[in-house]
């Protein structure tokens, strides 16, 4: 089968746009995935697990058969500066008899033993497809254990089938919200923020915290990067919420705004422009010119450190074409801009969970001819990568082999990566990685590129 003959399923046609050719067509997004389409999305459980995972001093117990817990054991790049409890995988590993007679007893025993042994600050109990179907009362078990152990034991409502990954984000926010407001906010500075949707992949949270410290802004809680239960308990004392991964955290930001009057701003720490904008916005909110001056100083100082090397990459990468397929659309905006800063263009861009507004914005941002996709699948991604003849793919581990098989460079921008790509240093790391992949000599030997070279030669002759 050649890529030209790959068909877009009828039910998915309205989830593919081409800037400049679709007029004002709006993306048909936010839908459940089409059956039989090999969606790159996972499930509600995955959404919840991915958001709560970095809370390092909490116990995370998956109530279900073994798969859900096994596939999420120590796979992320989310680092902790202290406890490493979150990197374990605990499961009630339900067996047939549990499915028949119910798993509440097993869950109770599991929590009782693990809380006694691990002494966590809180426990999150994830429900899965099976616990949703057999009707275990996870909330009741959590309540009992909470009373018994004295720590918050929180049910995360995440049966896999009960929506999309986005609903899992919401379930995670609701679970987190049970901690909010239970801690003492005394001593929190007037110049204080929470970072929402920043997960400390490869230590990125620490880089951001360092920036804010230098500007003079206190980070009360990072949700959930290098997360701690006690910090979450007092996050309602912050004066501003900066929301990075907005797909996952907007729900929490809105609740904090309506209940505690904390305003929020959507920001991103990917790319120079976006990082600088985020720092300026945060510094500007408090009406203290000194903060703003310090932010300007910081940005120019950091830029000076990375600009010479970046300029070198820009020269080499200029005119190269990229494809982007990521979880949340907000990250895609940053990546389009970051690629532009490297002289590259984006020819294909999409996300698993973007909303109408996201796609509208994405369309405005992109160059004419760019293909925009929602909830895409490997066949479409391969087809469009070849059609657009891209040199680089930015995605996660599931997209990587699509790129490599076709002789396309790849940059992992998902939560499993172990490279810091946020902030100024992160932009340099990003440029280095893009450069290392796009300019590798190995592509010369890959059939697609070798054939292209051959046909070019023939044309010339």
């Amino acid at each position: 089968m050649s890529h030209e003959s790959i068909e877009i399923l009828d039910a998915r046609r309205s989830q593919v746009l081409r800037k400049g050719e679709d007029g004002a067509a709006a993306m048909a997004c936010g839908k459940p995935s089409v059956a039989g389409s090999v969606s790159q999305r996972a499930c509600v459980f995955c959404g919840a697990r991915v958001v709560l995972y970095p809370i390092a001093d909490a116990l995370h117990v998956v109530h279900g058969p073994i798969g859900c817990a096994a596939y999420t054991w120590d796979i992320r790049g989310a680092q902790s500066s202290g406890p490493q409890l979150h990197r374990n995988s605990f499961s009630t590993d339900l067996q047939e008899k549990d499915v028949i007679f119910g798993g509440e007893k097993k869950l109770t025993a599991a929590l009782r033993e693990l809380i006694a042994a691990c002494k966590p600050k809180a426990a999150f109990v994830y429900s899965t497809c099976i616990t949703g179907i057999i009707g275990d009362d996870v909330a009741a078990v959590c309540k009992t254990l909470s009373t018994e152990t004295g720590i918050p034991v929180i049910a995360v409502e995440s049966p896999g089938f009960s929506g999309t990954k986005k609903d899992g984000y919401r379930a995670a926010c609701d679970a987190l919200y049970q901690l909010v407001g239970t801690g003492d906010t005394a001593g929190i500075s007037n110049h204080s923020i929470n970072l929402l949707g920043e997960f400390n992949i490869a230590g990125e949270t620490w880089m951001m915290k360092d920036y804010f410290k230098r500007i003079g802004i206190e980070v009360v809680s990072c949700i959930t990067g290098d997360g701690r239960v006690d910090e979450l308990r007092r996050c309602h004392g912050a004066k501003l919420n900066l929301v990075q991964c907005s797909g996952s955290m907007l729900h929490l930001a809105k609740r904090l705004e309506s209940d505690y009057g904390i305003p929020f701003q959507r920001i991103s720490f990917f790319g120079i422009e976006d990082t600088a904008a985020a720092l300026y916005e945060a510094a500007g909110v408090f009406g203290d010119p000194e903060l703003e001056q310090r932010a300007r100083n910081l940005v120019s100082m950091e830029l000076a450190k990375i600009q010479p090397e970046l300029r070198r990459y820009r020269k080499i990468l200029k005119g190269k074409k990229a494809a982007i397929y990521v979880g949340g659309a907000f990250k895609a905006f940053s990546l389009v801009r970051a690629l532009r800063a490297l002289g590259m263009t984006t020819a294909l861009v999409g996300s698993q969970t973007g909303n109408l507004q996201d796609y509208k914005q994405l369309k405005e941002l992109c160059d004419p001819g760019t293909i925009i996709v929602d909830d895409s699948n490997p066949l479409e991604l391969a087809k469009f990568c070849l059609e657009q003849d891209v040199d680089l793919f930015i995605g996660g581990v599931k997209e990587r082999p699509i790129a490599y098989k076709l002789g396309i460079g790849f940059c992992d921008h998902n939560h499993e990566r172990k490279e810091a790509l946020a902030g100024f240093q992160g932009m340099l790391n990003f440029a280095r990685e893009v450069h290392a992949s796009v300019m590798s000599p190995v592509w010369k030997f890959v059939p697609r590129r070798a054939n292209r070279k051959k046909s070019n030669k023939e044309k010339a002759a």
Partner: protein, 464 residues
């Protein structure tokens, strides 16, 4: 940039001993059943695996397999929603199968259930029947029941192999070929097993064979379903084979194994063998091939064995008396343990993640020289392994990537075997079987011991 280590505690907190927390599974040494089934279906030519359940199962399994094989791994799903879970999955299954048929144009669809579709009691044969009636151009569909609350990934694997034979093989004219059921081994293992069998002149049907589909070349154009795999037509005629070689002790005496079905239905001779890891098990395998083919063992194979023995002599003292912890799927653990005993390493702990009551007995009966002190556990997880290993002072671990944390804590090498290997390049190409596999394993063990000696030495000799 802030250095990561600046922010770490001086003493990273020790993992508490969780061995007494027995209600939960703590860092499982197993995966779920549909993963094994998907792997089998990926080894069938032109087949696409299809999961009846939530799309998360497909996505997680895809991601996990990709992390090891580093190849595209498309698994379709019926993408259950809340309504589907309540009212049944027929509509989604029909839509999904229609879409997959149209988009992938597969030669076969391998349909596996998930815990969700099993729990709501989907009648799979009836649903498949409906699909056949209603979907134009639907290729053959083989379905297997893989509720993940029954068994682990290795059960899903073997059940899918049985389902393939059960639903496809028919009475066929004798053709003298050999059915080879390799079990869950690496792509390099599959290639080598086929090569060895072909040395004896056999026309081999190996089920499954993902050696190309999950370890192939880069492409000039996109291949929706990568080339390679066992042709469906060959599976249909497995009933006409000269014999079936079934590898892996866990299948011995299993009346529902694929080899048993072929014997019972079509009278194909069944030979159950230990996975050919190490000298003795490989000898058995080669002897079986030689007997079946009524041909002498080719000189090239004998030479390989000779070189292996010679290298073992050269390095016997380096490995003698070393203590090893071995873990993974039962059949691979049995093979690896047998090999360790052959070279004088003491397998102090042998663990399989799945619950198999027969594991200890099988291990002892297959390996008569297994030391009495060897601790054998089935249905164990990494909390159990950690608990035991902390007291056993092993010199190295032998198993998949998931033991890395323990190896790091104990300060001993992890020699990577089995699945998953997702912290090294080439995990899918690790060769375990045959004399060549034993040679690679032996060198790895001996060199790991030499390296450790060299690195812990205050002098640092460059000549050992």
């Amino acid at each position: 940039m802030i250095n990561d280590t600046d922010l770490l505690c001086d003493d990273p907190p020790a993992t508490p001993d969780l061995s007494h927390c027995t209600a939960a599974t703590r860092n499982a040494c197993k995966l779920c059943t549909p993963l094994g089934a998907c792997l089998v279906f990926r080894g069938i030519r032109g087949a696409i695996p299809f999961l009846h359940g939530s799309q998360g199962c497909a996505t997680y399994i895809r991601r996990y397999l990709i992390s090891h094989f580093r190849e595209p791994m498309d698994i379709a799903a019926s993408n259950f929603s809340e309504d589907t879970a309540v009212f049944g999955g027929e509509k989604n299954l029909l839509a999904g199968m229609t879409n997959v048929t149209r988009q992938y144009q597969p030669e076969m669809i391998g349909l596996a259930t998930t815990c969700l579709s099993e729990t709501i009691g989907e009648d799979m044969p009836a649903l498949v029947h409906t699909c056949r009636e209603k979907i134009e151009g639907l290729p053959p569909v083989v379905h297997v029941s893989t509720a993940s609350y029954r068994g682990s990934h290795i059960d899903g694997f073997h059940d899918a192999v049985t389902a393939m034979v059960d639903q496809l093989a028919t009475d066929s004219l004798p053709h003298g070929g050999l059915n080879l059921l390799p079990g869950m081994v690496s792509t390099a293992d599959l290639r080598h097993l086929r090569e060895l069998a072909e040395c004896f002149g056999f026309n081999v049907t190996m089920l499954p064979d993902y050696s190309d589909t999950l370890d192939g070349s880069t492409w000039a154009d996109y291949e929706a379903l990568p080339s390679g795999g066992t042709p469906v037509d060959n599976i249909r005629t497995m009933g006409g084979a000269r014999a079936t070689l079934e590898l892996g002790d866990s299948l011995r005496g299993n009346a529902r194994s694929a080899a048993s079905l072929l014997e019972e239905r079509f009278g194909v001779q069944k030979l159950s063998l230990t996975l050919p890891v190490g000298i003795r098990a490989t000898d058995e395998f080669i002897d079986a091939l030689s007997r079946l083919a009524q041909r002498a063992i080719p000189a090239a194979i004998t030479a390989k064995r000779g070189r292996l023995v010679d290298s073992m002599v050269d390095a016997h003292k380096i490995v003698f008396g070393k203590r090893a912890v071995v873990y993974g799927e039962s059949d691979l653990v049995i093979g690896l343990t047998s090999f360790l005993c052959e070279i004088g390493v003491i397998p102090v702990l042998c663990v399989c993640g799945g619950k198999t009551a027969r594991f200890a007995n099988t291990l002892r009966s297959v390996i008569p020289d297994l030391p009495a002190e060897t601790i054998i556990r089935d249905g164990a997880d990494f909390a159990d392994i950690t608990h035991e290993a902390r007291q056993l002072a092993p010199d190295f671990l032998l198993g998949n990537s998931k033991g890395y944390g323990l190896a790091r804590e104990l300060g001993v090498p992890l020699i990577r075997t089995g699945f998953p290997i997702h912290d090294r390049i080439g995990g899918q190409r690790v060769l375990h079987v045959g004399y060549r596999g034993a040679q690679i394993l032996f060198d790895a063990v001996a060199n790991a011991m030499l390296e450790r000696k060299q690195e812990t030495s205050t002098i640092g000799y460059s000549y050992l």
